[in-house]
Symmetry: C2
């Protein structure tokens, strides 16, 4: 019997992942977000994946200018555009983003929605819906998902050439919100799956993903989805403050283990092509760093 030539195995090239460090702090009007990103990137498991850094104005205690109702709008826009230039230069299949305030996911998720031509679910793991507009709030980090959907400030929205449709979006870990936010989500038909529903199972999210029919998912992980009693490196936990400013702001109720389980379950269901981690505020670490800088023998 004559040998038939063995066909070359059908292999697709390994997907190309890019790590993006984006120490944006102006969107939350808090210099500490900058260091949060630095530490987060330092903690990431070592990898051969390339890491690029979006240039960000260094932290400053000077008041940020209010531009069209948004603090430091021109900086936030410029940083999102820089992020997009870096992403386009690498043209990755997958993106990991180390933030920074929540706004760091604007350009990356816009890129992914274009790349996958809308075949992208967006899983927003957060205690807050991030659909504010300048009419209600002045910090861009609370506007990012709205901007991806074409809402609110038009310049921010224009970062996303292809608008995210409400049917692409689901929230996880969130069930408290303002009446206005609730009304908007209801109007748009975007579901939210609360922490109690996810305490023992990831099924509600997996069911939604299945019903969405999307083959790819980008995950926004705002660390404030975590219970601040178990994870203290959050906005609401600043030591030496009564944190009265946040008394009416919903806080997270998920554990680290629940978040890990949720994301791993999602990875078993659809292809994760984006993961942005945001709002890391390691107060102790910053305070310790500042103390070391003042100590004799170290500051000499």
């Amino acid at each position: 019997m004559p040998h038939s030539p063995t066909p070359a195995p059908q292999t697709s090239p390994a997907p190309k992942t890019l790590r993006l460090k984006m120490a944006q702090w102006q969107g939350g009007n808090l210099p500490a977000y900058h260091f949060g990103a630095e530490l987060l990137a330092w903690l990431a498991p070592p990898s051969d994946t390339p890491m690029v850094e979006v240039p960000v104005d260094p932290p400053s205690a000077d008041p940020l200018p209010l531009e069209d109702g948004i603090l430091a709008k021109s900086r936030v826009l410029a940083q999102a555009r820089s992020a997009r230039v870096l992403i386009d230069a690498h043209a990755p299949d997958r993106l990991v983003v180390f933030g920074g305030d929540c706004g760091v996911d604007l350009a990356p998720f816009a890129y992914l929605n274009e790349k996958y031509e809308g075949d992208l679910a967006i899983l927003w793991v957060d205690s807050h819906p991030d659909i504010m507009t300048p009419a209600e709030f002045e910090r861009a980090h609370a506007m990012v998902l709205g901007a991806l959907m074409g809402q609110g400030d038009q310049d921010l929205a224009d970062i996303a050439a292809r608008k995210v449709e409400p049917a692409q979006v689901v929230y996880a870990g969130m069930d408290e919100m303002s009446p206005l936010e609730r009304e908007r989500l209801t109007d748009w038909g975007i579901p939210f799956i609360g922490p109690d529903q996810l305490a023992e199972t990831s099924a509600p999210v997996l069911d939604w993903l299945r019903q969405s029919g999307k083959k790819h998912v980008a995950i926004h992980l705002d660390l404030d989805v975590l219970d601040p009693k178990g994870f203290r490196s959050l906005l609401f936990n600043k030591p030496g403050s009564d944190n009265a400013e946040w008394a009416d702001t919903p806080q997270g109720r998920m554990s680290l283990a629940q978040v890990v389980r949720l994301l791993r379950d999602v990875a078993g269901e659809v292809e994760i092509v984006g993961l942005g981690i945001a709002e890391h505020l390691p107060w102790d670490v910053m305070n310790l760093r500042d103390m070391l800088a003042e100590l004799p023998l170290l500051s000499d």
Copy 2:
């Protein structure tokens, strides 16, 4: 008038400082001390000062052997000897130590006491006196100052060729202790200056230093001297634990700012030649690192 040759200016060479990273964890029987040292060293202000690292067995969850009443005594001894070899090789005038458990200061302070021939005050900034012996406790990190004074386990004590005299020692930030500890300090005549006495002024410590007549000081800074409500990266604050184990253990009552002020005031009074920082337990950071290692796209 003929020129007389200009004499060379009388300059003494700049003192030589060495930074020592010692991620010892066995002395506190807690692998987390290892990462605490890594992060502490990462946070230190950048410097041209050389940094050397004492080889330490990597953290492990396996039970440590009890040897002569001390957990992992042979490892703790071997690590102290390694530290001494490294220090002797550099022969510095000043030492900064990044720990690790409190035991990291055994070899460095022994070296300094020999180098300055006893013209050395020891300022122990801590919530605990660290003068236990194997008869009462099995963790070496609670024995280090006792060992420097020749007390307790003889092998640990032998790390210090020149014994520290009780008259060289003062505590700061500590006023609660067990009856046994109080009896020992009274017998030895070692004063302790509590956090309330130091809340507004460093004077009690400065007065003691002046009366001691010592021209050099080595400072042991156990971070547990800090109030755990303001600085959470401490033994007593493990998230998800009721920390019942520490219910009867004295906890710190100083603020970061008070510690900085105290050490800077001391630097104005005598020459600081040693600074060891110990017992850093950044729970959130470790938990976040462990979470990142489990997440899709990061663990792939």
